[in-house]
């Protein structure tokens, strides 16, 4: 009997099935043209190499072999990896704390705070880089002015060792509020009975936040970590804009893998090699997100066991 009902339902769904194709077709055609097409073309290009003598020749995996031994590419990958390790924990920790505080009901003007912290997300990264660049700058330098005024040493924001933390600060400024909203939304979705019982049992707000709410933020944490892997590894806008202020000693043309691919394609005319670098970067990011998901699911299994 139930089988018959299920069968009827399946027939009902598949009878109109061809309309599914009609609805998804416009998007899928654009998707094929704008995502799969360029990816395929980049892979095709990456299999060739231009030589002064003999023109363009097929080199197979040659460009990839070059890339994985290219110090410029490798140091760029290492730099964005260390950027990820320094910047993302700070940003996500702040975002979680802000979200827990907003959700605890202990803040004055919580709506205003939530909005105010989110505003930087609406600011283009180019403008964020220009603002912070001007604050850092030894030329205009409002930050240096203030630090000097209160007797603190002025850090070398644009020095080769100072530029990474300087850019990490800009990215933290831009995206903490965005991540905070994701965590806050996840907290709002929790059923209140969950912590009302604990509150009746005498658990304080700190205990509730740490023991009950924090563990339930794991799915949101996975989502924000994946966005952060993608964002960190394709870092481009901020260093590209700041390069003119900080100079080539601090931000070289291969400072991040994306800057390197851009330089190769547009300044050095090495289109084939640039395609290989872009493709490889995509692969690195894909592996990064895969690692985040694997770690997340193994943590979940251990927690369940």
């Amino acid at each position: 009997m139930t089988g018959q009902v299920a069968g009827k339902q399946a027939r009902r769904l598949t009878r109109h099935g061809k309309w599914g194709y009609v609805f998804v077709a416009p998007f899928m055609i654009m998707f094929a043209a704008m995502v799969l097409g360029p990816l395929g073309y980049a892979f095709y290009l990456s299999l060739f190499s231009q030589h002064l003598i003999g023109g363009t020749v097929f080199v197979g995996m040659g460009n990839y072999v070059d890339a994985v031994t290219d110090p410029a590419f490798l140091s760029g990958v290492a730099r964005v990896a260390s950027f990820f390790l320094i910047q993302v924990p700070v940003m996500l920790a702040l975002a979680v704390v802000f979200a827990l505080l907003l959700d605890s009901g202990r803040l004055l003007a919580p709506k205003f705070l939530r909005l105010a912290l989110f505003v930087p997300y609406a600011v283009p990264s180019v403008v964020a880089a220009i603002m912070w660049g001007s604050l850092y700058s030894p030329r205009i330098g409002a930050l240096g002015q203030v630090l000097h005024g209160i007797g603190l040493p002025v850090p070398g924001f644009f020095t080769p060792s100072g530029i990474l933390p300087s850019i990490a600060n800009i990215v933290t400024w831009e995206f903490t509020g965005y991540n905070m909203i994701i965590f806050y939304a996840a907290l709002r979705a929790l059923p209140p009975e969950l912590y009302e019982a604990a509150a009746i049992d005498g658990a304080g707000p700190l205990v509730i936040a740490l023991r009950i709410k924090l563990p339930r933020l794991r799915p949101a944490l996975v989502l924000t970590l994946i966005f952060s892997v993608i964002g960190s590894f394709q870092l481009f806008n901020e260093p590209n804009v700041l390069a003119s202020a900080a100079g080539p000693a601090a931000i070289s043309s291969s400072w991040t893998p994306n800057l390197y691919a851009y330089t190769l394609a547009f300044s050095d005319n090495q289109v084939n090699y640039a395609a290989a670098i872009s493709f490889l970067l995509g692969f690195v990011i894909f592996m990064g997100t895969l690692i985040v998901m694997l770690v997340a699911s193994s943590v979940r299994r251990r927690a369940a066991a």
Partner: protein, 295 residues
């Protein structure tokens, strides 16, 4: 809303009653997040010379805001006006187009069974992990092969594809458009396109606005794609134009007197989006909620 603050003890001002430490902590960070924007407003009111000589975080004489804004729009024969209009056109057309495509496809994935459904949706989901900028150089290479670069469409067309929009729209459609409603419309003899146009599209309107808003932000703020695609400054959006002005200002070391133009231009460029976010709060908050709950 469960308010634990109310019974946390003591009388006195709300500040004390709610707990001093969390409030001080939060308001200290508020200063950090507001500081650059406050500086931008202050700096936009200064002359080029007082920008360098006065206290950075406070206003100075003369109050030069109107003059600076005039300077922004008159610089280089008013190219800033082009950038502003371009940013608006690129953002609005991309956002509208992306939301239409996402609504159709999200509804199709949510309410129809077809053999390639899992494969197609899986491919789209995977592509969320393909970084936009890693895709920009390949897209440029492909477009230049077919002679489709350095025109407005080369920026708009790639922005029409929003895999995250599809994901959002599918989840929303599964909840907002009941299968029973579609079935009864079919019994009444309505065709599939009529059902979508008359019933489903109205129920999907809130998610449509959410996708519009997110694509609007992504396109208005986009830098890498237009930087790669465009070489004629008349086609630049604000981001590429401002970045180039900033680079000129730095190269000139203050001699170019471009700093006020860059700073006031930056201020003008962020006003539309900040306003859109404040006005359309409901929609971006619901969009982020859908992403966070489902993962």
């Amino acid at each position: 809303m469960t308010d634990y603050g109310a019974d946390v003890g003591g009388s006195g001002s709300p500040f004390v009653r709610k707990g001093i430490v969390p409030n001080l902590f939060m308001w200290a960070f508020l200063i950090y997040f507001a500081l650059p924007l406050f500086w931008l407003i202050v700096a936009s009111t200064k002359t080029n010379s007082s920008l360098f000589s006065s206290a950075g975080f406070w206003f100075a004489h003369p109050f030069n805001l109107a003059e600076n804004i005039r300077g922004v729009f008159s610089y280089d024969n008013g190219v800033f006006t082009h950038w502003l209009i371009n940013s608006a056109i690129y953002a609005v057309v991309s956002a509208g187009g992306a939301a239409v495509l996402a609504t159709l496809a999200g509804y199709g994935f949510a309410r129809y069974e077809f053999s390639a459904k899992r494969m197609l949706f899986g491919t789209v989901l995977c592509s969320i992990m393909v970084p936009a900028t890693a895709l920009a150089v390949p897209t440029y290479l492909l477009f230049s092969k077919i002679g489709f670069v350095d025109n407005p469409l080369s920026v708009i067309v790639p922005s029409l594809v929003s895999p995250f929009g599809i994901y959002l729209m599918r989840i929303y459609a599964e909840q907002a458009v009941p299968q029973s409603l579609i079935d009864s419309a079919r019994i009444d003899g309505a065709g599939e396109l009529v059902i979508f146009a008359r019933i489903a599209s109205r129920l999907l309107a809130p998610a449509f606005v959410t996708v519009v808003l997110f694509t609007l932000v992504a396109t208005w703020n986009n830098y890498f794609l237009p930087l790669v695609m465009l070489s004629n400054p008349k086609y630049y959006p604000l981001t590429v134009g401002l970045a180039q002005e900033y680079s000129l200002a730095n190269a000139g070391g203050g001699v170019t007197l471009l700093d006020t133009v860059v700073i006031a231009g930056s201020l003008i460029s962020i006003i539309p989006l900040v306003a859109a976010f404040l006005l359309l709060q409901r929609f971006w908050q619901s969009g982020l909620t859908a992403g966070a709950e489902r993962y």
